[in-house]
Symmetry: C2
Amino acid sequence: MKLRFATHNKGKFMEAKAILEPIGITLEQYDKGYPEIQSTSLEDVATYAADFLKDKIESPFFLEDAGLFIDALKGFPGVYSAYVFASIGCEGILKLLEDCTERGAHFESVIAYIENEDVKIFKGRCKGKIAMEKRGNKGFGFDPIFIPNGSNKTFGEMEPEEKNVYSHRGKSIRKLAEYIVNGLA
Amino acid sequence: MKLRFATHNKGKFMEAKAILEPIGITLEQYDKGYPEIQSTSLEDVATYAADFLKDKIESPFFLEDAGLFIDALKGFPGVYSAYVFASIGCEGILKLLEDCTERGAHFESVIAYIENEDVKIFKGRCKGKIAMEKRGNKGFGFDPIFIPNGSNKTFGEMEPEEKNVYSHRGKSIRKLAEYIVNGLA
């Protein structure tokens, strides 16, 4: 089965591939982009984008929106994580949390999967904490400063396969895979 | 003449009113909202929103998008200023600029004005710097930490009329006013 993933992000694409290809799903990248609305809800962003892409990409396809939500910063950077990363980076987040002992945070992932005209939503969440310093150069974005619960490594110190065990995106993609496989069964 | 301003923000509405009412334009607030896309360009955000609202609001109407762009933070918080204000606030910006002597910043305002089917864009910019601490409780958002060039006060220490003399929004609204008045002449 061929499935399209609408994303610019090569890192996300590799993570999805690591889960989907072993179960016989061939992944193809669509990287022409789509509008992302400003909303505090990842689901709104994903649903709006899915609607926009419906008649532009051959079904089935999916897209994914994710964000890092930091407790002590009232959920910042949240849905704007990609932009915030591009401007103030990991360094900015570490600065905002200087002298802050409350370092709880979570990553969230929302997938919108489109089959014919139907949109289905799959979610994944990963709780953890913000590291005291950057560690590792794998992954992308805020990966080097996020330590998922159950590990001592940051996402930046993990290969895609290991990151997928813990990560928000690993969870949402496995839910998607389960749905596709069951639907085909 | 009656003109509609699509905004949730009462502060913006009052600033526009202070300029437009003295020249005979009655301002009406439309506060049902509109989608704001994630883009690093205020003009993209405003144009997309104008397009969305075209058949929902009686013409003529306008909307405005603004942002604070801080040099040392690569333009952060930019088009996401409202969201960033709601999460990390003025305190977060001051923290990010701690020990930073380069405090240059500017506010930008983009107005999309819709008359019948046409969209016209008006822009305003205000250069200045980020204060060392919060001052004043007037205005809204990052006003208490922004000092426009030519003044020693922050926007937070100014009434709408005084802020309009310096501000990005004062400039874009005066351009709009000029256009409307000349168009009607």
